[in-house]
Amino acid sequence: MGRIFEFNNENFFYLWDNLLIDYSRNTFHLVLITALFSLLFAVFPAWLISTSSFSGRKFYDIVLYLPLAIPSYIMAFTYSDILSYTGPMQTFLRNNYPQISNFFNKDYLQIEVLGIIMALSLFPYIYTVSRVSFSLLGSNYINVAKNLGLSSFQTFYKIILPLSRPAIFSGLFLVLMEVLNEYGAVKYFGVNTFTTGIFRAWFSMNDVNTATQLSIILLIVVFAVFFIERFLNSKYRYNYKINNNIQNLVESGFYKTIISNIICGIPFMFGFLFPLIFILNNAISTYQKIDLSNLFLLSKNTILVALLTAISVIIFAFFVEFIRKISKGKAYGYINQLISLGYALPGAVIGMGLILLFTKINSLFIEISLIGSLFVLIYAYVIRFMAVGKSPISSSFERHPETYDQTAKNLGAGTFKLFQKLHLPINKFALMVAFILTFIDVMKELPITLILRPFNFDTLATQTYEYAIEEMIPRSSVYSLLIIVIGSILLILLKKTISKSWPN
């Protein structure tokens, strides 16, 4: 830990003077674009699907979760290929409409395009929470608002948005952290963000200290944003009564059906369908070259680590929440926040940090090297994704009133029975949601896997990446397709789970 404070002035100020201002500005710009578009892609469809009935609603209700199955780096590589001069869009235009093809012959590797692409792959984080929040609000407030003479839009703007603001922000916060963490896609698009700066210091300048200091600055900024959000939103954290009545969906006329389909269709098509078709097409053209036994092995590895991590995360998160519930200690709240911090750190930074840590442990205690074992890899995943798994479990715990515990105790249940008979079954759905989300995230994870994996250990993600950085995107497509398929199946399962726990 001491090394954090060994200040290497020269490198730090060199980076500061030459690059960091620029990098920070880029980061801010990228975050802004991504945030704006992911809100756009998430909030309106969530609102429409939660409140109105139109043909196609059921379909969109399932598929709008799916973009989460596509890793953002694959999304970025895929779109840069789709949009490129030799990609399908420009080729089609050149062959059929040569007169306008020139207009579309542009350099698409731009920060704005990257922001939109990131938004397309990240908007489900916001969509999921808004959808649940809008449903829980129910129709009472909407009916009252309409009775008081507000139009649909005014109702949305004046009642629903303020009430859902904390939920939407929590989703937005995840999006923000994902953008800050992104390395592969931003590098490819030539957009230097703050994370690029960390790697610059670390790899190009061989200065771990400066890299660590920059990581800490990043952490502080994330923390600041987090607490500012908390502070600004504290007055919006209303304790509204959850509406259990089945909400009546408003029937849509012809025009509204069309508009709804457009609003829900755009994020689905651009966030999932087009990339999927493109990847599928590539996969079909290259499948003869695939070594099936290798593909099977990679899938097995991927599922193994995802499974172990997801199980560890839910066990750990569950115990933390359970202990918090039965102990009610205040200091616990802060520890609780700290546990989730890993999400704000770039994966590679966690990886290197763990190598340092376990080297120390090895030199002090044990003979055999833990680094390069599956254990350390999973440990790193758990640190990285604890926040993802913990948030549904936390909110599930918060939703259940204190009287459940008191009743159970009163009915003679001790701590273990409380755990086994009450909290385990009552939070079953939340555990499943946490499991699925963690599983998908591990499956997509790249930097930690690259640094910490054991010998001869490849996953679908690392194989995809290896082909992609060697500029053999078609060859990578079978592997990325498999990630997407497994992820999609799990997400549909997730949707089913959510529907079960929150009807409507």
Partner: protein, 320 residues
């Protein structure tokens, strides 16, 4: 005595005591109404009895067994005290049967049909909590508590979430069930009618202090202070030459002629009779009349001296 509470003190922070030295006892099989305003610490008191809160000093004894004093604390799961919470917390993941049988000792299983029958839930065993009405949920909570044959039953505002129509029938039903099972019960409520209807004795609790603990009739006719008097019904203020007395409205009689003349201000029809709001020397007073009276009409009232209630002057401030 069956339940004995001695010098019970409870606080969350030392400046603000929730319960200041509470002493009282309950006989076996009695139903006690614990009456107090919302937020006066009634629920905290129940939690102290049930062991969900530890007390700060004093002692709680049930059936000669010390549950809680300065040295000893019996865990809530070992107390065998039934507790029905205000918001009917049936576990959402269990159906009615599993809720009632939650963590139950085998020896009580044979009582399941009896309890079900008693609480009228026979046809609902497969239902989940969200498929039950408020009254059904409440009876289910009660059944869940009663099937274990608790040594003491605690009911926390059991009727506050019910609408007035089912409220009275529920009240009777619960009274029947409790009496049939001969369960010693403490019923916490802020509603006087609940207390008067169901209780063998009433305990009035205010500002952390027991005000009066007596049977309903005594409580109504001989309140120890004006707070207790006021809480059980309307009072009229009667100023005589030397002092101030109080009188229940039903003790006023309309007469042809008396010294006590009032002007009718409002007349409420209440089915059997009329409740009249009138003014006497600028003071509002209430009384009952079998016939409707016209507004601004002058009426003479009379009362018996022995019905007058007197409080010392310090206590009077409660009315102002």
């Amino acid at each position: 005595m069956y339940l004995e509470v001695n010098d019970l003190v409870k606080f969350y922070n030392k400046e603000n005591l929730v319960i200041k030295k509470l002493n009282f006892s309950v006989n076996q099989g009695e139903i006690i109404s614990f009456l107090g305003e919302s937020g006066s610490g009634k629920t905290t008191f129940l939690k102290c009895l049930a062991g969900l809160e530890n007390i700060n000093s004093g002692s709680v004894k049930l059936n000669k067994r010390i549950l809680n004093d300065n040295n000893q604390f019996v865990k809530p799961q070992d107390r065998n005290i039934g507790f029905v919470f205000q918001d009917y917390p049936l576990f959402p993941h269990l159906n009615l049967k599993d809720n009632i049988l939650f963590n139950i000792d085998k020896k009580y299983l044979k009582k399941f049909d009896y309890i079900l029958n008693l609480s009228g839930l026979e046809n609902l065993v497969k239902r989940f909590p969200h498929e039950l009405s408020g009254g059904e949920q409440q009876r289910a909570c009660l059944a869940r508590a009663l099937i274990r044959e608790p040594d003491l039953l605690l009911l926390d505002e059991p009727f506050s979430n019910l609408d007035s129509e089912i409220k009275s029938s529920m009240r009777e039903e619960i009274y029947r069930i409790i009496k049939e099972t001969k369960t010693t019960t403490i019923l916490v409520t802020h509603d006087v009618n609940d207390a008067l209807n169901i209780a063998d004795r009433i305990l009035i609790f205010k500002a952390g202090i027991l005000q009066q603990y007596d049977d309903p009739v005594n409580m109504y006719c001989e309140p120890v202070n004006c707070y207790c008097a006021k809480i059980l019904g309307d009072l009229n203020k009667i100023s005589t030459n030397d002092d101030i007395y109080y009188l229940r409205p039903e003790n006023f009689k309309v007469v042809e002629k008396s010294k006590f003349e009032v002007i009718v201000k409002k007349c409420f029809f209440q089915g059997k009779e009329y409740k009249i709001m009138a003014s006497h020397n600028g003071e509002t007073c209430y009384f009952f009349s079998s016939k409707p009276l016209k507004v601004e009409q002058r009426v003479c009232l009379d009362y018996k001296k022995e019905d007058l209630i007197y409080f010392d002057s310090m206590c009077r401030n409660f009315f102002e």
